[in-house]
């Protein structure tokens, strides 16, 4: 059986500028993969392209997800198919409560799947259980999405959305950045709770301690100049920790 997510020779441009230059990557169901790399190597581009952001132009290669051509699907179709992005910088929606946002999101998925909309009782139960597990108060659910929240709270709310929507494939774009030690643990804990044989993760992070202690990935990939230049296990983390990306960058040029 082929991998859940199969990226082959992917090339991507923004305007005339090439960002990804033949990237290949396979992720199987239940696996946790980490993408590391220096700033500007294309990590966030990869996550946005996976989600279908129309600002990026795919010029070559393919992305299959669960044996479907992801590149032919719109942003919302990919989301409904189970792709979830925890945003590095979550967006504010003034006047829209988190509870309302999640209701719209769940019902949009159900509508697309030809299911009936969730009734109010089942919906509240679904969000309350997950909010409690992540230490999110009722008051936070009533407040407008990401408006006036601290960086840590926003990231926690991203994890909460992930828990409510139960996606098959979670992309975490620097979800630990800008967080204090305790908040990093909460974020890591969210991933631990969510890990399952039917769910894969693609984690983008610079935080080696976070990756080693909280995420405990199956595979590590190093991205330089828009290509994967090294694949490995936990030992790669130690190597990067000690020597940085210098050696990989030479490889990429060579």
């Amino acid at each position: 059986m082929s991998a859940w997510l199969e990226i082959k020779d992917l090339t991507v441009k923004v305007g005339d500028k090439p960002i990804l230059n033949g990237l290949s990557l396979s992720v199987n169901a239940g696996e946790v993969h980490v993408i590391m790399g220096p700033n500007g190597s294309g990590k966030s581009t990869l996550s946005n392209v996976l989600c279908g952001d129309e600002h990026y132009k795919v010029t070559g290669g393919f992305i299959d997800f669960k044996e479907k051509n992801l590149l032919e699907m719109s942003v919302e179709e990919r989301a409904r198919a189970g792709i979830f992005l925890a945003f590095q910088h979550p967006i504010e929606l003034p006047g829209v409560s988190m509870a309302t946002f999640m209701k719209y999101a769940l019902n949009a998925r159900r509508k697309a799947a030809g299911e009936k909309e969730l009734d109010a009782v089942s919906f509240m139960k679904r969000i309350k259980v997950r909010a409690q597990a992540l230490g999110i108060s009722d008051e936070m659910l009533k407040r407008p999405v990401n408006v006036g929240f601290s960086g840590g709270e926003r990231k926690r709310l991203e994890t909460f959305q992930m828990a409510v929507l139960e996606p098959d494939f979670c992309i975490l774009d620097e979800m630990d950045s800008g967080l204090d030690v305790d908040a990093v643990k909460v974020a890591g804990n969210g991933v631990k709770i969510m890990r399952s044989p039917d769910r894969s993760f693609l984690v983008i992070s610079h935080n080696i301690k976070f990756l080693k202690e909280q995420i405990v990935p199956d595979k590590i990939h190093v991205l330089v100049h828009g290509r994967i230049v090294a694949n490995g296990g936990m030992e790669l983390l130690d190597e990067i920790d000690q020597n940085g990306y210098a050696a990989f960058q030479k490889e990429a040029v060579a």
């Binding site: 129309e54 942003v75 919302e76 409904r80 003034p94 006047g95 719209y104």
Partner: protein, 481 residues
Amino acid sequence: MTQDKISALDAVSDTYHYGFETKIDAETAPKGLNEDIIRFISAKKNEPEWLLEFRLKAYRHWLTMKEPLWAKVSYPPIDYQDIYYYAAPKTSKGPKSLDEVDPELLKTYDKLGVPLHEREILAGVAVDAVFDSVSVATTFREKLARQGIIFCSISEAVHNHPDLVRKYLGSVVPYTDNFFACLNSAVFTDGTFVYIPKGIRCPMELSTYFRINTKKSGQFERTMIIADDNSYVSYLEGCTAPQRDENQLHAAIVEIIVMDNAEVKYSTVQNWYPGDKDGKGGIYNFVTKRGLCKGVNAKLSWTQVETGSAVTWKYPSCVLMGDNSVGEFYSVAITNNYQQADTGTKMIHIGKNTSSTIISKGISAGKSQNTYRGLVKMGKNADNARNFSQCDSLLIGSQCGAHTLPYMLSSNPSASVEHEATTSKISDDQLFYCRQRGLDAEEAVSLIVNGFCKDVMQKLPMEFAVEATRLVAVTLEGSVG
């Protein structure tokens, strides 16, 4: 905005969901306007002499007036001789119960989501349904009558409560007020009359659904609400209209009188045919709505959700005469395609310690133009009067316009006037964020816009709020690619 979205905006294809026409032969006066037509209308309605005189005086004054041109709207000249000024459905004798109502009419209301039967029983809302120019069904009247509340068509009120009508007709909006109000005073055909006696709290929301039917029949509604001392009433007005090619003129008047310690809440959801995506057709809505807070501690709240009409010219206003009286204006105005709205309010502070609040949310999409125009006037005796205004505009796409024109005039040094205004745009980032969670672009716009208008939507009565939220989504369909 990406190029794709801009071209999608060009291809906006909003279809009017309530576009159908009821087949009922109208008994119409010939086209055009002259003293004979006014006499015809008055005779048709079997009116007393004083009312005919009122109409004729208004008509003669109207002939001396010019159509106002200061609003930021443009439309082809209206030929006032090419309009029918009177049309009544066959059932104009007035049915005594719903059984007597033409089934065609009832079907129309069903399509509009106004199931009279259900509303009567379930919602406890008394509905005075205006079809064309004559009221055809009035419900719950007896129950209200037991408390001395009068809720009927203004034609009936002319016959049954002539003293009240004569005393207050034109007392808040005189026939000389403006061009359209003057025209209405000459040719108004029907509307609603409400009187709440002293000390009575109206036990239910009073609701009127307006419909415009019959080709080229101008609608000239006249509504009058009188809240006597220590009384309270909440009044709902909602409208939709069948699809048309030709423009239809609508020039209504609403007059409200609020006495000592009384409170009136007036809520409107307006969804008249706005014209097609190329700006063809649609209703011209030139309305004069004004309330007089005559007594001490009187309170008047206007809440409006305006999504329809090709051209809107409307400024629901409060004259705060009684000391400590309160005026409120909460408005959401949405324009799409080629719609033009010039709307806002006037708060005229005359009494001491009067206060007013204005919250206006304008949303422009397509190639529409949306203007807030408001006046806050502090009279020389309005000691310690206060006003707070907030006017927010939201733009969708790059070809629409939003304009805010607040006028503030203060003749009293102890009065305070505050004004805040913002303009924002729905960003690509917001759309992407919502779509990444599974919403399509239209659901995302509807969610963001409803969030933007939340402060106003919350002021609407429950059942209206649900309808208004749905209306926002329908109005903005096709506004984002």
